[in-house]
Symmetry: C2
Subunit: 402 residues, 2 copies
Amino acid sequence: MTTPIGPRRRRTQKSSSNLKITILCGIVTILVLRGTIGVNRLPDPNDHRQQELLKEANRIVAEIRSGADLDDEPSRISNTTYSLGPKISNWDKDREIWLNQNPNFPNYVNGKPRILLVTGSQPSPCKNPIGDHYLLKSIKNKIDYCRIHGMEIVYNLAHLDTELSGYWAKLPLLRSLLLAHPEVEWLWWMDSDALFTDMIFEIPVSKYENHNLVIHGYPNLLFNEKSWVALNTGSFLMRNCQWSLDLLDAWAPMGPKGKIREEAGKILTENLKGRPLFEADDQSALIYLLIKEKEDKWIMKKVFIENSYYLHGYWEGIVDRYEEMIEKNRAGFGDERWPFVTHFVGCKPCGSYGDYSVERCLKGMERAFNFADNQVLNLYGYGHRGLLSSKIKRIRNDTSSN
Amino acid sequence: MTTPIGPRRRRTQKSSSNLKITILCGIVTILVLRGTIGVNRLPDPNDHRQQELLKEANRIVAEIRSGADLDDEPSRISNTTYSLGPKISNWDKDREIWLNQNPNFPNYVNGKPRILLVTGSQPSPCKNPIGDHYLLKSIKNKIDYCRIHGMEIVYNLAHLDTELSGYWAKLPLLRSLLLAHPEVEWLWWMDSDALFTDMIFEIPVSKYENHNLVIHGYPNLLFNEKSWVALNTGSFLMRNCQWSLDLLDAWAPMGPKGKIREEAGKILTENLKGRPLFEADDQSALIYLLIKEKEDKWIMKKVFIENSYYLHGYWEGIVDRYEEMIEKNRAGFGDERWPFVTHFVGCKPCGSYGDYSVERCLKGMERAFNFADNQVLNLYGYGHRGLLSSKIKRIRNDTSSN
């Protein structure tokens, strides 16, 4: 039984309870505030500074982007037919005249046709920061191959036509380059997620004397299965001629973004085996174009579907085999023994989502890059310590007679 | 005056107080937990996925890096003298023999000396993600200039010598390239934070017939003031000859990281005006080397200190004037009227800390890039909508006669 408590003591006890509750409420308030403003720990000054710098950089980039957006005007009234540009019909003749008038810019040098490698990526920083690092490594890889083989490069960071954005951006780019570079015999489009992995192999251009488009793929997948992966537009050659301008004109109509591209996507999914439903992409559109060509076949007779070497090499079956290749083979084959190109289809390191695990993709790309880089460094007497290592070691003794 | 309270009511009141305190404590506990585990709001699924991908990417990159670190062996016993490689004394003769034996690889093409542009950056992703994006834009800028002017590029992502890391990495790289490319007459080192901003200007190589090193700077700053910014090693030409190998050998000793570099830094700060105290950098070391040269002057007589055009153009005085230049001048001057190179000294977009505001640097780089890019896009009939805009507009009507 409790001892009766006098009034003063009850007041003291009550005040004490109130005080406890007040203190607790104060703590609760502070904690709610902490939780809301995200202050979870004592700040590390360096970390804080780094975060601040990062935020500021992002703010400025967003400002740069938004200033750009404000300037955007619609480029075409939507019910007019899309066109890459005014119709050009006489390019073969015009080009021939230009070449004759400019003997210092021949389309063949030392018996080899002049090839211009064309690649590129989005104008803005990658959503996933690691993406820009791999874009950088990818262009370094291409610079190395092209230096060794006497090819020039165009790296595009511009959307020349706002309607043909994303993967379609290559079409207006290719058209512009064909017309601006009559001295170039072949344009070679290569995706930014495709790496050279055979630094010695050269495209056997003499095979293609009678063709204007060289693309990796499988005829049975194209004509029998009508598969949406029958060809790969991640790496292909396009001859500088009227036919190519006509092809681009025939190819472009599914590209304009918005309703046209969405509706075209549905047609492609209905007609191509295995294609998921999404907006029209340039690869599916080209496949569809080749399939539905009628007897005329003006397109197909000039297309060479190449699979005797890895003009495009699907990465998944390649990246685990590099050590085996080093042990058993040598550079120069360009095929499954030593793939010419390793193409990281579906990895999308620049974007938010890929179709494969981040780990598999990044490690695969690192290995492919180093596998290729070794073939260049070896020329200078160096090599990577391992296919996942950026560290370098000497592989050949430096001598005073070098 | 309070009414006396009976025992049962007191127990009830006390239980009620205890309950309130218990509930409050429970809330406090939950809030503390929330604060500690950083759960501040209802998660947005996309945001969460993006964060997950980012974390995973960072984890894999860290794993790739750590696997590399484990392989690292010390490359030199610290009390032996550092050397770039075995002493080479006959390079002029050896190179001449090689050139005679390889007439298909002349060092002069169409009357112009063969120049190899050399640049590079760190092997690992930038600490500041925006850094990789600007490295990418920087190399695209260099690709454009070199394609227009028939120059080849080496983009280095390797530390060929772990002791000469950071800004010193260019020394072993230059030595390797001189020896591996006898067909190259000049190596042109250019920093990754330097952009071409005059796409027409060409280096007046005939000025340098009697010189082996061409570097931007000011003789009075060098010999009178002994200023640590008298020269700039962010953009310089080095002839392929014995003298250059000797220069590299004389230059390298302050470079080995650790105690040597730190002590050398102190010497440089004591001797060069305005130099803050930090480890030895290649630029200060070269300045010091030129200053302390005795009567022999084997080095200085072959060095051309150039300031008649912006072989290096300090960005701060340039980036706000592009619109004025466009209005009053034209490409081709290469000097203050239309700077050949705009060099973002001190911005360090790849690192954590720069000497300038992030805003000023990023906007400056964006403007410089677009100012240069316009000179290339204009050739194709396009241009940026503004110097801060990545958006493109047609500046010339496309016609069917193009």
